[in-house]
């Protein structure tokens, strides 16, 4: 369900544009070195199982 960022009135009214290309706070783009994070269904199921064990969720 995640989409590309869209322009919004709030952003146009009062703030600078978000960076076109993500970059670190020091200004050095580092995305290429980052691991791809994938939460697989079995991972999500394990999260639910563990939190259920703790009484966090029913």
């Amino acid at each position: 369900m995640q989409q590309e960022p869209q322009k919004h009135a709030l952003a146009e009214a009062a703030i600078p544009e978000p960076p076109a290309k993500p970059e670190g706070p020091g200004g050095a783009p580092d995305a290429a070195n980052e691991p791809e994070q994938v939460l697989r269904p079995e991972d999500e199921a394990l999260v639910v199982e563990r939190l259920r064990e703790l009484g966090y969720i029913e």
Partner: protein, 442 residues
């Protein structure tokens, strides 16, 4: 224009105040929320009387302190009394069409009270906190466009910032200054793996094809990306209100139930411990038609228990007598000078069983049971000299610690008496999650 305002209450679960630009964060996590704050009023010092999610939201909806309503733990045994006033129920009775875009009712039945409509797109996920702002906004905006024929009250509960931190892939690179996120020689998170929530993270959302994420700076960057993603959702919702011509007469309240500890105080990426990173919450209110002056900042202490009475007064509803919170509506709309509490009291009884008493200078934390981290049962922090609450000065200032402990105990006793309680609810519940975890391990 209809006489009563529409009200949208937004809870951003686990949103830490000082990770927003308008609360002083230096990274650009929140350009749209900052702009939203510039159009309304920002409250600098709002505290959660109870953490985490279930106790805090119970306070938000009842206007009562957890000692009064009794729900002091997440997953605890206490149930909310049927006679306790509930915000959505009162607004429904006063002519509002009410809608929750939320998951909470699945866990505790009282969160279903007073809603004519409940929309829950998290049913499409195994774990409800995996629901995204886009999924919630899709439904919320459609509902606003098509259903209400008069004033409405909508509650939207965003989970993006809550763990697991899995921001959109397009945000890779954002807020991380570099290094190796999966360096096997980095052991800064090792202590977390001994905690069940840390072990869960290690076994699931921190695993990548490159190996286990071991750099806490990278995990914090993932959190900040989630804040940025949420920020886009706030902008989309605000846009929808503008396009429908609803912005002027809609009071929009953006708050969090609690904050988040990153690695603070050896509490990793979770929301327990009664330090300000967790109990101080962002609160921003925009209401152009209600004479809320754009860009106002309120410094006095307020509590989340003040939200329900403030919204009820804005809606023209009579306030129940048994609320602990006080409406700040007259101040919000400029009829009174800003004012607040000299001190606030809060509690937790999930991973730790503790109370805090906080004034403008000091915070005293009192444990009812020893905590897992081996902290002393009594902690005192000088927030002026030590805003990070890193140095316990209880032994250095025993008289002050004793005075604050006495004051805290007297406050608890008075609140219990007013609520008709004979047993301290925190002592009664104990650290619920710890007890369940220990039973499971045994």
């Amino acid at each position: 224009m209809q006489a009563k305002p529409n009200i949208i209450l937004i809870s951003a679960d686990s949103l830490r105040a000082n990770h927003l630009g308008c609360y002083g964060y230096t990274l650009p996590t929140s350009p749209n929320i900052d702009a939203f704050a510039g159009q309304g009023a920002l409250f600098e010092k709002v505290f959660a009387p109870g953490i985490p999610t279930q106790p805090s939201h119970t306070t938000i909806f009842t206007g009562q302190h957890p000692v009064t309503h009794g729900v002091v733990a997440h997953g605890g045994k206490a149930k909310l009394g049927r006679g306790t006033p509930f915000l959505s129920e009162i607004l429904l009775e006063n002519g509002y069409t009410t809608c929750a875009v939320d998951t909470l009712f699945r866990e505790r039945i009282w969160f279903g009270r007073g809603w004519e409509y409940i929309i829950d797109p998290s049913l499409h996920h195994l774990f409800y906190a995996s629901v995204t702002q886009e999924e919630l906004n899709d439904r919320a905006i459609h509902w606003m466009k098509t259903v209400p024929k008069g004033p409405f009250f909508m509650f939207i509960h965003y989970w993006d910032v809550h763990y697991p931190y899995t921001p959109p892939d397009r945000m890779r690179g954002l807020f991380y200054k570099g290094g190796n996120p999966t360096d096997p020689d980095n052991h800064e998170l090792d202590e977390w793996w001994d905690h069940p929530v840390g072990a869960m993270a290690r076994d699931t959302w921190l695993r990548t094809a490159n190996g286990l994420i071991t750099d806490p700076n990278y995990v914090t960057a993932l959190y900040d990306r989630e804040v940025r993603y949420l920020d886009e959702g706030i902008a989309a919702l605000s846009d929808a209100l503008d396009k429908q011509g609803l912005a002027e007469n809609t009071m929009v309240v953006l708050l969090a139930d609690h904050g988040e500890s990153m690695t603070d105080h050896r509490i990793f990426y979770d929301h327990y411990g009664l330090h300000d990173c967790v109990v101080r919450v962002p609160t921003i209110i925009r209401w152009p038609g209600g004479n809320v002056k754009p860009g106002t900042r309120f410094a006095p202490f307020r509590q989340l228990s003040d939200i329900a009475p403030t919204l009820l007064e804005a809606a023209g509803s009579e306030l129940p007598e048994d609320l602990d919170g006080k409406s700040f509506l007259p101040q919000l709309v400029g009829r009174e000078e800003p004012s607040g509490y000299d001190q606030v009291v809060g509690l937790e009884s999930t991973w730790q069983s503790k109370y805090y008493l906080r004034n403008s200078r000091y915070k005293f934390i009192l444990a009812r049971y020893p905590d897992l981290l081996g902290n002393p049962d009594r902690e005192l922090f000088d927030l002026e000299a030590d805003p990070g609450e890193d140095h316990n000065i209880a032994a250095d200032q025993p008289q002050l610690a004793a005075d604050m402990e006495r004051e805290l105990e007297a406050w608890i006793a008075a609140k219990m008496e007013a609520a008709g309680r004979t047993e301290d609810p925190v002592t009664k519940e104990g650290p619920v999650a710890v007890e369940i975890w220990e039973q499971h391990r045994a």
